[in-house]
């Protein structure tokens, strides 16, 4: 056993030192929550990045140089994310980082990347990531505030004013719950019930019963991701609640309809991206080619359906590689400038135009209000 351990120690030194060997390749880094509580989001992100790097190198790389992706699994823990970000920059010497599946891990990576002046494209939702704008940090997903706005816009248009919320207590659900509470007043809507569930809970009928029995309630919103919203949806049907029901972009994937059951999911609305309604996009829709290409590649490669979150990774990769093509790919500052110069770039999430004041580059129009009809996504507007 002693021997095994010293071999392990040796392997440690070799593995850690092996960082700086190969030449003539562009090295980018990623820290993704491929396991842990956010694995549901991180797993498709990691698969997407692997797939895209493979495709890009098969097609000749960037200006003839191969792209090498160094990817670590931070398990959703900000402390580990910080360590991996340090490792990517100090040891692997990457020129840019994609990652931060959750807001917590993003905030950790962000600090390291800003310190070292390495461009960083986050895949997490919170508005704090890009507000205030930091020079080296960008992000591809909509903010959760925008999701709330899109939902409340729709609720307002349908003439409802009294809404209940049931949110997950994970980072995604809690952050969106807080953002929704901040903007709800702008739409003349009153929050009459506010319940939560833990991401691992198995039954939410108690919370839903409480919400249903709230006087005058007209619609229910469920910010959350993972299995929680599927269970909420099933319980919704079990209790035969017939109020209009809104999910968040956290469940925007075919997998949700499958898990919740087409029957239970019937009539649910949520703010989603073009990715889910690829077959409904107009032929001249600028997003159609990129959406179709990604959907086909991902689904044939992984044998599972695409979702919004893989799409965020796709868009981050697209923005970064486009910028790498234009920039001096050895100089992080030049890459940063080119990312910021991204204009009118069609991704799966929306059309990105960054400016020095806007490191998200999307507006509300990128969100499309979807409704589930007969087990499929349809466009509301």
């Amino acid at each position: 056993m002693k021997k095994t351990l010293s071999t392990t120690a040796l392997a440690a030194i070799v593995a850690l030192g092996a960082g700086s060997a190969a030449l003539a390749e562009i090295r980018i880094g990623a820290s993704i929550s491929a396991t842990g509580p956010a694995a549901f989001l991180g797993d498709p992100e990691a698969k997407t990045l692997e797939l895209l790097v493979e495709e890009l190198n098969a097609a000749g790389g960037i200006d003839g140089e191969n792209l090498r992706l160094v990817m670590y699994d931070d398990g959703g823990d900000p402390n580990r994310a910080r360590t991996f970000a340090t490792r990517l920059i100090e040891d692997d010497e990457v020129v840019a980082i994609i990652g931060g599946t959750t807001t917590g891990t993003t905030m950790s990576i962000l600090a390291v990347a800003e310190d070292a002046e390495v461009p960083f494209i986050s895949l997490a939702g919170a508005i704090e990531i890009i507000d205030p704008v930091r020079p080296y940090t960008f992000k591809t997903p909509h903010t959760d505030r925008m999701a709330c706005q899109k939902i409340f816009e729709d609720i307002q248009a349908r003439g409802f004013t009294r809404v209940g919320m049931i949110s997950g207590t994970d980072g995604f659900g809690a952050s969106m719950q807080a953002q929704c509470k901040q903007v709800i007043g702008d739409y003349g809507i009153e929050l009459v019930a506010d319940e939560t569930y833990n991401p691992t809970d198995a039954d939410m009928t108690a919370q839903l019963t409480k919400i249903r029995n709230t006087a005058g309630i007209e619609a229910i919103v469920n910010p959350g991701f993972g299995q929680g919203p599927s269970i909420v949806t099933r319980n919704y049907k079990q209790l035969a609640i017939d109020l209009p029901f809104y999910q968040s972009h956290g469940v925007a994937s075919d997998g949700f309809i499958e898990l919740a059951g087409a029957d239970a999911a019937e009539g649910i609305r949520l703010p989603g991206t073009a990715l889910l309604v690829a077959n409904l996009l107009a032929e001249d829709d600028p997003q159609k080619p990129v959406v179709d290409a990604y959907k086909t590649a991902y689904e044939s490669h992984t044998n599972s359906s695409v979702g919004t979150f893989g799409g965020y990774a796709h868009d981050a990769f697209l923005i970064l590689t486009e910028a790498l093509g234009r920039a001096d790919a050895t100089d992080p500052a030049s890459i940063r400038d080119e990312i910021e110069a991204t204009e009118g770039l069609a991704g799966t999430t929306g059309i990105y135009t960054f400016t020095p004041e806007d490191h998200l580059g999307l507006d509300l129009s990128a969100f499309r209000m979807l409704e589930i009809r007969d087990g499929a996504w349809t466009l509301v507007d």
Binding site: M1, T83, R87, G104, S108, A174
Partner: protein, 318 residues
């Protein structure tokens, strides 16, 4: 001349902290080093609790969470300097441990396990859900300790990673020194008697309940300071720090190194901090290998690394 085991341990640690940087392939290793030292502080606390006093805790990450959030919150809400907040956090942890410890240390074995587990989960739940205070599951920024600027003002030029490496290293050595003194004090001897057999300790007149409580409070303070240092170093903290897996990590580090010894604690912390970095070469097999390593070490080196190795040496002497 014969050096006492205490001096020897401290010397080994000092040499470790001072000389390791000469072998670092890149600046990244300062980060790993400082994480090892910060973890080692918490693990020395576990050695006092489990190794000296024979009590189990599956919830010590709760105290690390308190220490960490004290550094995030006290500067904002109470206007305290983050350095003072470390001591505030330690004081809160100590008092809380004293209050919680009195009832639950009467429990034994797994019952104590579930009670401490419950305590840890309660703390992590509060940190996660009291969003108005803690900013919730996404975590909160921690202010700058300011010590690096002060040290660099004296003419040194340390990078952030280097500063935290040496600062955590010094804190760890201090922690080890205090623990070793405790070990050699009359109270420490009483504590060790406790681990041997509670009944026997009681018969020879040791106030068992008081000793256990003392060990619990001291270990809570160690965990709290470890959490504070981690938060200050990361300039950020999230409720993950108080999570169940962090509690398990602490205990595993202690047992891995050898739960009765301070040096073992440092070795255990070192290995388990480095391990995830090594395991990245296994990509998706990472968790599989981690689980395997935990099982193998516990099966084959059940007294922990250091004692097992020492035993082998001694075996040869005889």
């Amino acid at each position: 001349m014969r050096i006492s085991p205490k001096t020897a341990t401290l010397l080994v640690l000092a040499v470790l902290v001072a000389l390791s940087p000469f072998f670092f392939p890149s600046n990244f290793y300062y980060r790993i080093g400082s994480l090892m030292f910060v973890n080692a502080i918490a693990v020395i606390g576990i050695v006092i609790l489990t190794g000296y006093a024979g009590q189990i805790s599956l919830g010590h990450a709760g105290f690390a969470g308190i220490g960490a959030y004290a550094c995030a919150l006290a500067p904002v809400h109470l206007g305290l300097h983050p350095g003072i907040a470390v001591f505030l956090g330690a004081a809160i942890s100590g008092v809380l441990a004293w209050m919680v410890g009195r009832p639950i240390l009467r429990l034994k074995g797994y019952y104590l396990g579930v009670a401490t587990l419950g305590f840890g989960i309660l703390v992590s739940m509060i940190l996660t859900n009291e969003r108005d205070l803690t900013r919730g599951p996404d975590g909160i920024d921690v202010p700058d300790l300011g010590l690096r600027a002060l040290v660099n003002g004296l003419g040194l030029n340390l990078s952030n990673g280097q500063f935290w490496y040496f600062f955590s290293g010094i804190c760890m050595i201090l922690g080890a020194w205090i623990a070793l003194n405790l070990f050699n004090s009359p109270a420490g001897r009483a504590l060790r008697a406790l681990h041997g057999s509670e009944v026997a300790a009681r018969t020879v007149g040791v106030d068992v309940a008081r000793m256990k409580l003392q060990a619990f409070v001291i270990s809570a303070v160690y965990a709290s300071i470890s959490g504070s240092l981690l938060a200050l170093q990361n300039r950020f903290v999230s409720p993950d720090i108080a999570g169940f897996m962090h509690s398990i990590e602490m205990v595993t580090m202690a047992v891995l190194g050898g739960v009765g010894s301070v040096l073992g604690a440092v070795i255990g912390a070192g290995i388990l901090t480095l391990l995830p970095q090594v395991l990245t070469i296994f990509a998706e097999y990472e968790q599989l290998v981690l689980g395997l390593v935990m099982m193998l070490v516990m099966i084959f080196l059940r007294e922990g690394l250091l004692p097992s190795i020492l035993k082998r040496f001694r075996g040869r002497d005889e």
